[in-house]
């Protein structure tokens, strides 16, 4: 274990890179997912179509292919869209997360009884008030368990960013273990580090769920 002090810094750096990537793409994914979910339940047909097309296309593509496509293929089509590894990773995972969060939001809104919306409308509420104060607060309780579940799986999906050279935790672990030839120790630490990100997410979800109950 004497190499511990040597290989811990790069792994800690990988942990930071992974946390950063998940945090940004998670937030963007949640916001975009909310918009997609609202669009999917919109009274306006074009909004529903756009949301459905996006969701179905993105959900049908492996996130790995999304990253490859954005990093290697997109610059061929549009040379101006040559993005850095970090930007590609963030956007790629956001695009992926938005589709799944959108479906979770859509399903949760659908689960709210129609009468709740009708009661809001009968009181004179417009779309914004109806969703802001009646529909979304109730939908949040339904969104939360699968939403947190998806964010935890996003933590793990972030390992895919290594394929385009984003130096996240898995990539750092791979590099360090080939250098010091201690895969057992290295990947044990890597596993613990992933747990350190995903378990607080689960706890946060539980806490918020209890608060809403």
């Amino acid at each position: 274990m004497d190499g511990f002090a040597q290989y811990l810094p790069p792994l800690a750096q990988g942990l930071g890179m992974t946390a950063l990537l998940v945090a940004i793409s998670g937030v963007i994914g949640c916001i975009a997912g909310l918009i997609l979910g609202l669009a999917a339940t919109s009274p306006l047909p074009p909004a529903r179509w756009a949301s459905n097309i996006y969701t179905n296309i993105i959900r049908g593509i492996p996130p790995l292919v999304i990253l490859f496509f954005m990093y290697f293929a997109l610059p061929i089509l549009f040379p101006l869209l040559t993005l850095s590894q970090t930007l590609t990773a963030v956007i790629g995972l956001s695009v992926y997360a938005a589709a799944y969060m959108g479906e979770i939001v859509r399903g949760s809104i659908r689960a709210i009884p129609v009468g709740q919306g009708e009661a809001s409308e009968a009181l004179g509420m417009r779309y914004y008030h109806k969703f802001r104060y009646v529909i979304i607060p109730q939908a949040m309780k339904i969104i939360l368990p699968p939403g947190v579940g998806f964010l935890i799986s996003l933590v793990k999906a972030s390992a895919l960013a290594s394929v385009i050279g984003y130096d996240e935790l898995t990539e750092e672990g791979h590099i360090v273990s080939t250098l010091n030839n201690q895969p057992l120790n290295v990947f044990l630490v890597v596993a613990v580090f992933y747990f350190v990100i995903s378990y607080p997410l689960a706890l946060l979800g539980r806490w918020y769920e209890r608060r809403l109950a």
Binding site: P113, A119, S120, E121, A122, L123, G124, R126, H129, Q138
Partner: protein, 259 residues
């Protein structure tokens, strides 16, 4: 078609004195199923109108057309001077003046009783928090639920929830109240408390349109009773005319079954 000729409404044509609702040749279909086949109704200011009839007769659909929860296919609906059939009419304005109470209560389960009542006045009417609060407290007293202000709807019985729903609608200070089978989902022992709140409201002069199966309530409170069957108004008149001496045989058959 008669519907075509009735499509234009001159401002003064809505009944002689103080009609707050004027409906002409209203037709409404769900797909190929026509559920309202030409309804003509006027409701005067302060009048209590009860609509009775078998399920599937279109009475709930008719009521829901009055605040445009359902869009009509043809005909005219003028509520408080607003033509609901006109696409440029801002229905939100009309809805603020027309309260509605639903069969399934539809109270907001995530909000405390008091917040259920203050939400729309605060957000829609932009009334100050304290004023909305005072109004809600007053309304809770009126419906006999003062001690439930901080309860959540799930802690209340059906009858209590429905009284909250009535208070919530009244908080917008509506000029008209629509009731869509307000006691049909209630336990028999809680029906009375809801009906008594409605009776108080009627005696205060509120204009009310009530779809109901409570014949006793209609007999006691209604200025006018409308019997609907198969998308049409079959018979209409004072409660004693329609309920005691129905002339139409379908009305007679219906009343024999429910009384």
């Amino acid at each position: 078609m008669t519907a075509g000729s009735a499509a234009t409404v001159s401002p003064g044509s809505g009944a002689g004195s103080g009609a707050v609702i004027t409906v002409r040749e209203l037709r409404k279909s769900f797909g190929s199923n026509e559920v309202l086949k030409g309804i003509n109704v006027q409701v005067a200011d302060g009048e209590v109108v009860c609509i009775i009839g078998p399920s599937g007769s279109g009475k709930s659909t008719f009521l829901r057309c009055l605040n445009r929860l359902e869009m009509i296919n043809s005909g005219t609906i003028v509520v408080l001077g607003h033509d609901l059939g006109h696409s440029r009419t801002d229905v939100h304005i009309v809805r603020q003046k027309v309260g509605m109470v639903f069969q399934q209560f539809n109270v907001f389960p995530h909000l405390k009783v008091l917040d259920n009542i203050t939400l729309a006045p605060r957000k829609v009417s932009k009334i100050p928090k304290q004023e909305a609060h005072d109004r809600a407290v007053e309304l809770l007293r009126k419906v006999g639920l003062s001690e439930k202000a901080d309860a959540y709807p799930r802690e209340l019985s059906g009858g209590q929830q429905q009284r909250v729903a009535i208070a919530r609608a009244l908080a917008m200070r509506p000029q008209i109240m629509l009731f869509d089978e307000p006691t049909s989902a209630l336990d028999p022992e809680t029906i009375g408390e809801v009906l008594s709140v409605m009776k108080d409201l009627a005696s205060e002069g509120m204009t009310m349109v009530v779809v109901t199966h409570e014949i006793g309530f209609a007999r006691e409170v209604a200025d006018r009773v409308i019997f609907m069957d198969d998308g049409l108004i079959v018979e209409e008149g004072t409660s004693s005319e329609v309920l005691k001496n129905p002339r139409n045989e379908r009305t007679q058959a219906f009343l024999r079954k429910v009384l």
